[in-house]
């Protein structure tokens, strides 16, 4: 079992003929992801990486019955690509693209209210992977292994690091979800924790947060109400100064809000173990 994605999910790739889109589509196919097509305006009718290419998402959905999409288009076009996917009936939209203007994402979020069945992951995220079955995005499958640990994270490489440590310790993962480093994004920590809570195959969760915003605090509130999952949290950015954007557009402390300390406290108060370094996560989980 898993959340959001498994080996039977029919996936298309928006921007499949691009360099990034093509490279990662192959990686997705290697794992066994059911990639049923892709889109690239003007290239409809082509076959690329053994799957049909369509001009639009609506055409692709009609022909393939796809329900999920990975978006690899450049930032100026990404917001439109997300909305196009939702309007075409895609229910799992994974946007890898980095650097989408925040106002574009605010409009996207408003647009998605008209499509309550559509779930957006990202943008500016590594996507998600259900080890051994399928992935949408760029998380390397080599460092993952199937098992009972749900992993949700705002960061890319830090997620890889933790997944790799879990796998090395024999702790496989049910699904790994990178929710992204932008201030305005799709699924939140809280949303993903709710999904893991309902997945019988997930017994443990690891949350990798970072400074900025209060999504971690909201997830902690949910966990404080009682959870069957054994949870460990780690927060990156304790040393980050106020007012400086640390790489991710969302990783910024404003005033005294969004600090690592407040997030760690929220988790501790919720009875969630807090790892001080990523090395401690495995020990706290077992």
């Amino acid at each position: 079992m898993s959340i959001l994605l498994d080996g039977s999910t029919r996936v298309i790739v928006q921007g499949i003929t691009g360099r990034e889109g093509g490279f990662h589509t192959e990686q997705m196919q290697d794992l066994g992801t059911k990639v049923v097509g892709g889109t690239s305006p003007g290239k409809g009718g082509m076959t690329h990486l053994n799957v049909p290419v369509f001009n639009t998402v609506a055409d692709a959905v009609k022909a393939t019955g796809a329900t999920a999409s990975g978006i690899f288009v450049p930032a100026p076009f990404a917001a439109d690509a997300i909305m196009e996917a939702a309007a075409a009936g895609i229910t799992l939209i994974v946007c890898i693209t980095e650097g989408i203007p925040i106002q574009d994402m605010i409009r996207v979020r408003d647009f998605l209210r008209g499509y309550p069945q559509a779930r957006l992951i990202g943008a500016n995220c590594p996507g998600l992977i259900t080890p051994g079955q399928a992935k949408i995005g760029i998380i390397p499958q080599r460092i993952t292994s199937p098992g009972p640990v749900g992993l949700v994270s705002r960061s890319g490489t830090l997620t890889y690091e933790v997944a790799s440590a879990l796998s090395a310790a024999g702790l496989g993962q049910s699904t790994i979800v990178g929710i992204g480093g932008d201030p305005v994004l799709g699924l939140t920590f809280r949303d993903v924790v709710e999904l893991f809570e309902k997945d019988p195959a997930t017994t443990h969760i690891v949350l990798i947060g970072e400074i900025g915003g209060s999504d971690e605090e909201h997830a902690a509130e949910l966990l404080a109400r009682g959870s069957r999952l054994k949870a460990v949290a780690f927060i990156s950015g304790r040393t980050a100064p106020e007012g400086k954007r640390m790489g991710h557009a969302g990783a910024i402390i404003s005033g005294n809000r969004g600090t690592a300390k407040s997030k760690e406290e929220a988790f501790r108060n919720a009875g969630v173990a807090v790892a001080e370094t990523t090395d401690e996560i495995v020990g706290l989980l077992t």
């Binding site: 605010i106 490489t157 690091e161 304790r238 790489g247 690592a260 370094t277």
Partner: protein, 392 residues
């Protein structure tokens, strides 16, 4: 990009918002000339941070001499780490009352929020804490902006009904900063009602989304170079790096923002002080590593560098070769510790060892190692010309 007050006011003025007459002065003489033109003026430090009034960055001038003196004192002053490059000399206002109005992004709501308060001139976060009831809020639809009736409700909620008409007009104009300029913050505080009943922007704050910089090249061209900023951050930007200067002495490079932030934390935990944040992104290509090292080594405080690369798809041996090449090209002799992990990581570590670079197996070990090396080594030559054999 955070615009300076005069820049924000120029932009707001193009949106049809009234601003007091004012001119920029880069010297005491220019400030005196501004007085001759405008009469009594406020001489205001131009820095992209709040609290300049308290820091002595705003002075009232009733004579040309006072204007000259004020500019003399303020230009070059340090306000919260920013050197004041110039002052804005603005006609002093006859204030009847002060109002707060501003748009900002509410991250929790994933929406823009409009705040209006009859208590202007104060820190809005303080107002929110002390008298939350006095703050009227509206989440405008991001496709069509605020509607007249919504704004009317907002104005009455804030207890500003007698100003309904001018405020509604002004807020609709201020809102344009969002669709037209990708503003993340568009704030007028105080919005001044003058003795003769005019509504003008007393101060203005505008922050433009860096992700949308490509849509607003004109703003960057016009305003981007006024503030000197941090020299290393400036150089890093030229080289296309994501870099933030900090005040310690251990240089840090990581691939991925989260991992890089995590490395800063580890160095601090090990007892060291990070000199910077530098994210070189996923691929960790040799050229990018070299650029990152070059910028970090410009900072004379740096006593050593730790590189933390977790390769997902990236190959460890290629990263190792890249690091060695970069170090050799830069003739770097300061301690260097590299933690790399990923495909072919053992081969990568072997390449590092053969070239006299300490490989760390985990980020934590690498952090401890660099702190040990930098706290014990004397600060000597940074390149082949100045000394030798510091590293390893």
């Amino acid at each position: 990009m955070k615009l300076l007050e005069y820049q924000a006011k120029e932009v707001l003025s193009t949106l049809g918002i009234a601003i007091p007459p004012g001119v920029v002065a880069r010297s005491p003489d220019e400030a005196a000339a501004a007085f001759d033109r405008l009469g009594p003026i406020a001489v205001k430090a131009q820095v992209p941070v709040g609290g300049r009034g308290k820091a002595g960055g705003i002075k009232l001038a009733r004579t040309a001499d006072e204007a000259r003196q004020a500019a003399q004192q303020i230009i070059g002053m340090d306000i919260k780490g920013f050197k004041v490059p110039l002052v804005y000399c603005e006609s002093a206002l006859e204030i009847e009352r002060e109002i707060y109005v501003g748009f900002t992004v509410d991250r929790d709501a994933r929406a823009n929020i409009l705040l209006l308060s009859a208590q202007g001139g104060m820190d809005i976060e303080q107002v929110a804490e002390e008298s939350p009831g006095s703050l009227a809020r509206l989440y405008p639809n991001p496709w069509r902006g605020p509607l007249d009736f919504e704004l009317a409700q907002l104005v009455y909620d804030a207890g500003l009904g007698e100003l309904a008409r001018p405020l509604t007009t002004l807020i609709k104009r201020l809102y344009r900063a969002i669709p037209d300029y990708d503003a993340l913050i568009a704030e007028i505080n105080p919005l001044v009602v003058t003795r003769n009943g005019n509504v003008v922007a007393g101060d203005a704050k505008l922050e433009i989304d860096e992700n949308a910089a490509w849509r607003h090249k004109d703003l960057e061209d016009r305003y981007g170079s006024v503030l000197e900023g941090d020299p290393y951050e400036r150089e890093a930007k030229k080289r296309g790096l994501t870099y933030v200067s900090l005040d310690g002495d251990v240089g840090i490079i990581g691939n991925g923002a989260g991992l890089c932030m995590g490395t800063l934390d580890l160095v601090q935990r090990a007892g060291g002080r990070p000199a910077n944040f530098c994210d070189i992104g996923g691929g960790a290509k040799a050229e990018v590593v070299e650029n990152a090292l070059a910028v970090i080594l410009m900072n004379p405080k740096v006593r050593g560098v730790v590189i933390n690369v977790f390769g997902g798809i990236t190959r460890g041996d290629e990263v190792a070769k890249g690091v060695v090449t970069a170090r050799d090209n830069l003739k770097m002799e300061l301690p260097l510790v590299v933690r790399l992990s990923g495909t072919r990581e053992e081969e990568g570590r072997e390449i590092l060892r053969q070239n006299g670079i300490e490989p760390g197996v985990s980020g934590w070990e690498a952090a401890k190692k660099i702190v040990e090396l930098t706290s014990s080594s004397p600060l000597v030559g940074r390149s082949g010309q100045q000394g030798r054999g510091v590293a390893e």
